[in-house]
Structure formats: C-alpha cells, structure tokens
Symmetry: C2
Subunit: 236 residues, 2 copies
Amino acid sequence: MFPSNHDIGQRIRDDIVAGVLRFGERITIDALATRYGVSHMPVREALRELQGEGLVTSEPNRGARVRAVDANFIDNLFEIRTALEVMMVRRAARRATPADVAELEAIEVVLERHIERGEHAAVVAENRRFHQTINRIADNVDALPVVDRHWTLLAALWRHFGYGADRFSGVANDHRHLIAALAAHDEEAAAMLMGAHATKAKLELLSRLGAQAGPAVTNAPSTSPRQRAVRHLRRA
Amino acid sequence: MFPSNHDIGQRIRDDIVAGVLRFGERITIDALATRYGVSHMPVREALRELQGEGLVTSEPNRGARVRAVDANFIDNLFEIRTALEVMMVRRAARRATPADVAELEAIEVVLERHIERGEHAAVVAENRRFHQTINRIADNVDALPVVDRHWTLLAALWRHFGYGADRFSGVANDHRHLIAALAAHDEEAAAMLMGAHATKAKLELLSRLGAQAGPAVTNAPSTSPRQRAVRHLRRA
DNA sequence: AAGTGGTCTAGACCACCTT
DNA sequence: AGGTGGTCTAGACCACTTA
C-alpha cells in the first residue's frame, strides 16, 4: 500500500503550508514529478487544482509560483466565500425543513463538545461539516464545488497559524443564532449573521497573519513580469 | 491562438449546445476520444473543465452525463454570478479611478454601436468585455476565474436561445447607470444596479427557456442512483 | 468473472523564451 | 540554436460495478 501515489495535490498543499515550498518559490512540473516520484500528468492536474484554489499562480510558458499568502490573498478568498455563503444561507433559510434544522443542531452539539475538550482539529472538521450542511440545504449544486475548493486551503491555513481557543467560543454562539434564523425562515437575519460570521473569521486570520511577523510572504507578484534577480534576496 | 487540434473542451461545449450531444446523454471519455480523434487525457481534462462550468455531471465509477439545462440550472448559475458580481462591483466602486471610468465609457460606446447595428454576437462579446473590466477594476484575481468560467457557457446559451434585440436596449441603460454609480463611488447604488442587471438577464433566459418548448432537457438526475433501466425510454 | 470508468507511466513532441 | 514549460499519445493498470 503506497500512500505515495494519489493525492499529489494534497501533498503539494501540505508542503506549501509546511514551508517546504516557500511562498514565491518557482515550481516546475518536472521537479515536483521527480520529488514525489510520479510522472508528469498527475502533477500537472494537481497544479491546476491548486491554481483553482489560488495557492499557485502560473504564467504561460514561464512556469508557476507558490502564491504569496498575504493579507490581500486572505481578503480575496474571504470576499468570495462570504458572497457565496451569504447567498447560500439565504436559500437555506427559505428551504430549511425541521429535519434540516435538527441535523444542524446535532452537528452543533458535537462541535461544541469538541470545543470544550479543546480538540482543535476535530472542531475544524465539524465546523466544515456544519457549513457544508447549510450549503446542502441551500441546494445549489453548482456553488458547492466552488465553495468547497477553498475549505482544504483554509483548514491548512488554520493549522499553520494555530487555532486559538478564544475564537471558538464565538463560533458556537454564531452557529446557535444561525440555526435559530434558519428555523424561523428569517432570510435577512440569516444573511446578516453569516456575513458577520465569515467576516470574523477573516479578521481573525488576518490578525494572526500580522502577528506572525511580517515576512510570511513577500515575493511581490513582480508587477514588472520580467525580472528575476530579486530571487537572490531570499536566502536567510 | 491554439493550433487546431486542442481545445477539446470548446468542441464538446459546442456539440452540447448545438444539440449533437443531447442533454442527459451519457458520455464516456473513450467515446469522445475516438470521436475527436485524440487520446484519453485531453478529454478527461476537458470533462473536468465542463464539470466546473456545471455543463457536465459525473458520478464516480458510473460515468458522466450532459447536465440538464433547465430552469434550476440557470437559476443556480445566476445566483452564483450575481453574488460574485455584486461583490466585485462593490470593490470596483471603491477603487474606480477616472481612467477606469473612461475605459468603461469607451467600451460602452462600442457596445451601443453594435446594438444599433444589430450585431448580436459582437454585442455579447463587448458586453463580456464590459463586465470583465469592472471585475478587473475590482482587483480580486481569485474571483476572476470563477466568474469567467461561466461566460463561455452563457455565450453559448444566448446563441442557442437567440439574442433578442428587445433585451439589448435595457442593457445599455443599465450600463450607463452602473458607470455613473462607479464614477460617484456609490457602492450601494452600484451593488443594487448590478443585482438588478443580473436578475434581468436571468429572467430573460428563463423566459426563453420556457418559450422554447418544455423538453429542452429532462433526464432527472436519477435520484435513486442505482437504476439504469430508464435509459431505454430515451430513444424516439 | 467480465465490463466499464478512470488514472498513471514513459516518452514524444511542440511552442515560446533565452543565447 | 538550445532550453524549458507544458500538452498529447498509447497503453498498462486499478477500482468499482454489474452479471
């Protein structure tokens, strides 16, 4: 049983958030293929996937780079997520059945137990399930993959920046209110709550990014696309 | 410019909207590969791309199908587009420079000339440029690919259902007001206008879908995933 | 057990950037 | 011209489904 094959995308993502692949670093299909012991094609597909998540940028015929995970990136991602999840929770508020509400409550109970016990990874996983359930209730199958694509990346970022128990208590409170709004079919309330909920997460991540020291990133996307000398500066 | 061979995705998309591949039809990588005279891999990637657009659905180990282009599908797509474009136009309203506004006005002039002359395809192309420019001003590079992915499909749908000169006059009026809101940095107005603009397009498409006779579609996604006998019914 | 859908390998090949 | 990034071919192979 080789774990080696398969899921090259996840391995690259892990290597990026783990710092093995530095932000801004140049990456080539060939190098990654030999590194992971696979052939061209799986790496190519993985890079596309990561490009879809925004983790990798690529200029035609000039190779790809690890995207700088800076405030701008976080901001972009959360604006997308917020716009879509607010739209989704509106639909969910219109459609939620008592059974749906019960399902959310059950998930929330589990989630809060994980919070009490400080089981961070489990909290993140259950939190994802909570939001996925809302999105399933919303019943827009075409939006699901878009939103879902960001979750793996966000999970990696939380893991990287540390979880922080202080944040989780607020999460539970938000969720309880969200469930109430859905149960009451109060679309406006649900939209407002979801917007605030997502914004909190964004601000939280941004503050950690700032606290973690400035240089988590750099590699200004090289607005003048033809110079490379800058790369020599990154060494330390 | 792509040599000729490539861009299997576009060829499949064209075959779908042209009715060569019927809605609901079963499609396999192998069949498409032989049909277009290419090997497995390009078709596989193309199918993924189309899945990303929502044009194709796929169940693991059970093959793919042409997605039913019904009211529900149109609705899903436009909810995504509306949510994202409203978010984008808000950002654009905050950032638009006089030069940006001038660029939009220039595009709009060209667009309206095409409208007067009844050059439908050119109108669609220029309309796309208009919205792309707003999204560029918004400066969320991570949202661009998501929104952009739907444009090729929408263009194909307009082409398929017919353009309709009646619609275009409203478009020009909406655009003029949008430009004014952006120039005034009026974020709320811009958001409201964009929401209405997108909703109009959705309703327009839906009405054409309804007018075009009911059976543009069918193939209920077979909610009980294990039966295939139904397939024999589709023959006529 | 046979069939079908789908991914991986290994290398050829091509287009564009770099001398 | 030479180099590098990236796509395509042809077939092996694996996983899951169906008989």
